[in-house]
Each structure stands twice: as structure tokens, then as C-alpha cells.
């Protein structure tokens, strides 16, 4: 093994979750990478952009991470220096070609134990725009870190090209690693959170799996095991992991109304979109009003943390139990309260929570009761250093969980985009088409009349 002069660290809990995903993806290691592009109107000098990229790598320590295995565990350390040159510049003659080529790259596993942690490509589009494609291993960055990366890159480009001020220094991921390892080394922290989580997830009894595909899997499992009390079907399958990447967007007129609603009532996108999804989910699962998603929390509090790279995001359990006479507005307040609770307890490692839940509800190994993992990407007009941009995600072709949904503002078209990454063995494209259409319907009805009760909403959809 090569000699490492830098400090070697264990993985922190958010990275351990990625390690867990890698462990149970036997054949397709691309499941833990994030491929995305930004496409901009502004002409890019790619030589200057390459110079800017190398400055970013100097500033953003997560891009200098390296990993190795020791006694079955992944360890990490930071390189002092690392430079990239000869970034491929691709010229696409159509959107189809662009999506085909970049998707093929997105589905090629990053060789994270052979000193590859990210790939970058520059490109031009068929409509004379300029693109930067990043495919990064999730051990190195989460989505918030990707946005930090793009923002910093464009700001440094502006400095090099047009003499604009250099952006402020970034925070250090190494500092975050040290802080997180200190937190989990104090067992009293974990004991306190275990108590809080136990109370949270047991107060309304066992959560029940509600599928975007309806109740078929739960019913099938109950029939197969001759046990009508089963609440969580076994949907974990490390072999049949083929996944589709189904992109949807609200019609622009509807999306505009949803954004206006968010602004008017101070409601977050993640609460509003999730609530609409949960209501439709209840409708197609026999009117059951107790819904349970895992929601990703960026866990970046201070300015330094917001301006740093690395993977710190954590999935947190959001369980919402509604009553028929609750209005949509009241349900939104309940969602906001759940969000607050989750944020107050966001440091409890997800894998600890997962094990706790299995122990409390006596789940078999492959069972789970969460409908989906949900994430809201906080994209705004000024996210990319005030450049006009379009954000494009790419499907990785395989996935470890049944459904991962992420939603965001489409700043170019002033609407909401929702993307579903779903294992087609369990959730088909047709299931997603119906689920999305139902969610859109709920949003339309409730944005127009947020005083409708849950009962009224379910009757209308």
C-alpha cells in the first residue's frame, strides 16, 4: 500500500450511508455518484475555465479526497495538491446526442479506490449554449456541495476573465469531518438521540408502507406470509436494480401559481410538494392518512458549512399523520413542524436510525416502510453566481432504493421540476406518470383553495 503522509480519517455518518449503498450494490457501483450539468447562455472560454477549475480544486478540499479500504472499512485522506488538465470539450449537434453521451458517462462507475473521485466535461449545445458536466462520487460531494462547486467555479471564472473580485474562501470539509467524528465518539449524544427517535417513531404505532404503485406489494407480502398485520414489505433487492430517471415538470402556469403560493405563505418547496404527494398517496392506498418519507437534510448551518464541499447530507424520517378534518393549510403547518423536529435531530446517524427502526418494529432484513427518499434542491436565479443557467440531471441507470424523488424550481421556465429515480422492478414509468399526475392535481386544487379539508381533497382527486 502506498505511503500516506496526510491524516487518515474514518468516514463520517453521511459517508457511511454511501458505503452502505455501495456494499449492497453488487454489480453496479454507479449508484453512488451524482451526475449533473449546468448549461449557460454566456460564452465560455474553456481554457480559462480549466484554469478556474484548478483554482477550485485548490480551494475546495473535498475535491482532493482519496479513499482506500482497510480491514473492510473505507478510510479517507486529503491530497495537498491535485491538478486536472485536458478536460474533454464535446460539441453536441442535438439534445438527444447530449443526453445519450452524458448519460453514458453518468452510468460509468467512478473508480473511487483508484484515485478517481470525479469527472468533468465541457460541452457546447446544439442551440449555441455552453455546458459544464460534473459526475462526482457521493463520498466526496452531496448535491449542496455540487452547487457550491459550480457557484465557486463560475465566480473564479469571472475573476479570471473579467477581473471581478475573487469569491470568499470556502469552508473546509476536513473541519467538518473532525467535528462529526468528535460528535459520534461521545456516546451520550447518540443515546440522547436514540431516545428522541424512539419516541418519535413509536408514538403512532408501526408506520405502514404506502406505495406510489398502490398497495400491491404490501398486499402480496401479507398474502405470501399469511400475515395481515405486516406493515413493511421486503422491497430490497440487490440484484434487480435497473432504474429509470423519469423527469416531470408542472405546466408553467401551474408551476408559477405554486411558486407564488410558496412565496405568499412562506412555505418551503419540500413541505408543499411532499404534502401534495402524501395526499395523493393516501388516496391510492385506501385513504390511509399516516405517510412516511425519508427526506434529505443538507445539514449546513453556518456560513462556513454552507460554503464548503463534502458529503454531509442525511436522510431524516418525516412521518405525517393527518386527520380528515385537517385543512391543507393546517397540514402544511404540521409538515413544517415535522421539518423543525427533523432538523433539531439531524445529527443522529441514519444507519443508527435504520437499525433502531428495524429493532423496534421487528423488520426482516429487506423490509422498509418509507415510500421514498425525497429531496428539495434549493435552486434560485442567483444560485450560479448570477449567471443564467439551466440545471440538468442524468440517470445513473441503477439504484439501491425503490424510489428517490427530487424537486426543484426550474428557474429558466419559472415552474417546478420533479425527477423520479425509480427501480422499475417495483415502480414502473406508468406508475410514476399516474403518481405525478395525481400530485399535480392535488397541488392545483390546494393552491387554489388551501382551506379544503383532507376529506374534501381526497374526494376531489
Amino acid at each position: 500500500m502506498k505511503k500516506i503522509d496526510s491524516q487518515v480519517y474514518d468516514l463520517i455518518p453521511p459517508q457511511e450511508m454511501i458505503q452502505f449503498m455501495l456494499k449492497y450494490s453488487f454489480f453496479h457501483k454507479q449508484v453512488t455518484q451524482i451526475p449533473e450539468s449546468i448549461i449557460v447562455d454566456k460564452k465560455i472560454d474553456f481554457d480559462i475555465m480549466t484554469k478556474a477549475l484548478n483554482i477550485v480544486i485548490e480551494r475546495n478540499d473535498c475535491m482532493r479526497l482519496r479513499f482506500f479500504k482497510k480491514s473492510g472499512k473505507i478510510k479517507q485522506y486529503f491530497l495537498d495538491k491535485f491538478e486536472v488538465n485536458n478536460i474533454p470539450v464535446l460539441h453536441f449537434s442535438s439534445v438527444d446526442e447530449q443526453m445519450k453521451v452524458l448519460t453514458a458517462d453518468a452510468q460509468t462507475p467512478i473508480k473511487v479506490f483508484k484515485d478517481e473521485t470525479f469527472r468533468i466535461k465541457f460541452f457546447t449545445t446544439s442551440d449555441n449554449r455552453y455546458g459544464i458536466y460534473l459526475c462526482v462520487h457521493h463520498l466526496v460531494m452531496d448535491n449542496a456541495a455540487c452547487l457550491v462547486f459550480f457557484n465557486d467555479l463560475l465566480a473564479i471564472y469571472d475573476h479570471l476573465k473579467d477581473g471581478k473580485p475573487m469569491p470568499k474562501p470556502l469552508g473546509k470539509y476536513e473541519d467538518r469531518i473532525i467535528k462529526e467524528l468528535e460528535y459520534i465518539s461521545d456516546k451520550s449524544n447518540l443515546e440522547k438521540e436514540e431516545k428522541a427517535y424512539t419516541e418519535y417513531i413509536t408514538k403512532n404505532g408501526d408506520p405502514m408502507y404506502l406505495g406510489v404503485e398502490g398497495p400491491k406489494f404490501l398486499e402480496a407480502e401479507r398474502k405470501k406470509k399469511k400475515d395481515p398485520t405486516i406493515m413493511a414489505p421486503s422491497l430490497f433487492d440487490p440484484i434487480h436494480d435497473k432504474a429509470e430517471f423519469t423527469k416531470k415538470a408542472l405546466p408553467e402556469e401551474e408551476g408559477k401559481k405554486v411558486i407564488e403560493f410558496m412565496d405568499k405563505y412562506g412555505v418551503s418547496g419540500e413541505c408543499l410538494i411532499q404534502l401534495a404527494m402524501r395526499l395523493y398517496l393516501s388516496k391510492i392506498n385506501g385513504g390511509y392518512l399516516d405517510t412516511y418519507f425519508i427526506t434529505l437534510c443538507p445539514r449546513r448551518r453556518t456560513l462556513s458549512e454552507k460554503r464548503s464541499g463534502g458529503t454531509v447530507t442525511a436522510p431524516l424520517p418525516w412521518r405525517l399523520t393527518l386527520k380528515e378534518d385537517t385543512t391543507f393549510m393546517q397540514a402544511l403547518e404540521q409538515m413544517a413542524e415535522i421539518q423543525v423536529w427533523a432538523f433539531r435531530h439531524m445529527n443522529y446517524p441514519y444507519l443508527e436510525y435504520r437499525e433502531l427502526q428495524r429493532k423496534l418494529f421487528n423488520y426482516p432484513a429487506a423490509a422498509g416502510s418509507s415510500t421514498m427518499m425525497f429531496s428539495w434542491f434549493p435552486l434560485e436565479e442567483n444560485t450560479m453566481n448570477n449567471w443564467n443557467y439551466e440545471f440538468v440531471g442524468y440517470g445513473i441507470g441503477r439504484y439501491v432504493m425503490v424510489l428517490y424523488t427530487f424537486a426543484m424550481k426550474d428557474v429558466k421556465h419559472n415552474t417546478i421540476k420533479i425527477t423520479y429515480q425509480h427501480r422499475t422492478k417495483f415502480v414502473s414509468v406508468e406508475d410514476i406518470d399516474k403518481f405525478h399526475a395525481g400530485t399535480e392535481k392535488v397541488l392545483k386544487i390546494c393552491v387554489e383553495n388551501p382551506d379544503l379539508t383532507v376529506k374534501q381533497i381526497l374526494e376531489k382527486i
Binding site: D263, C297, E333, Q339
Partner: protein, 73 residues
């Protein structure tokens, strides 16, 4: 108390403290996201040795709402 709130906010958000008033909306004027609001609440809880229930926190719209709650508790 407004000055203390401004000082705490400076840890989470890049904003000119002179622009913050009791009428400032947490989201639209100051630019706080949901996690920022929780961070602010937790810092104030520690500073003033109070507890802000989650049900109250999610109702805060302005800096004034936050200060009023602290003063009355």
C-alpha cells in the same frame, strides 16, 4: 435583543445587519431557509435559557415575532 438576534444571524447568513429590523420577514427579507430558522431558534434558546416549541417556531414570520416570543417567555 435585536442586536443579539442580528449577531446570531450573522453566523448563518451573509447579510448587512443594518438592513435587519423587527419588521424584516425571516424568509423574504433576510433570506433564511427552514434550517436557518431552526439554527436561529436553537441559538436563542441557549442564549436566553428558554425553549421554543416546534409548533411556535414554524409560525415565526418576522424578527419581531421572534423577539416578542422571547420577551414573553
Amino acid at each position: 435583543m435585536l442586536e443579539k438576534v442580528k449577531e446570531i444571524l450573522g453566523e448563518f447568513i451573509d447579510i448587512d445587519p443594518d438592513t435587519i429590523t423587527p419588521e424584516s420577514n425571516l424568509r423574504t427579507d433576510i433570506g433564511l431557509n427552514s434550517l436557518d430558522c431552526v439554527s436561529l431558534a436553537e441559538e436563542l434558546e441557549n442564549e436566553y435559557n428558554i425553549e421554543i416549541p416546534n409548533s411556535e417556531l414554524s409560525k415565526f414570520k418576522t424578527i419581531g415575532d421572534v423577539i416578542s416570543y422571547i420577551k414573553s417567555n
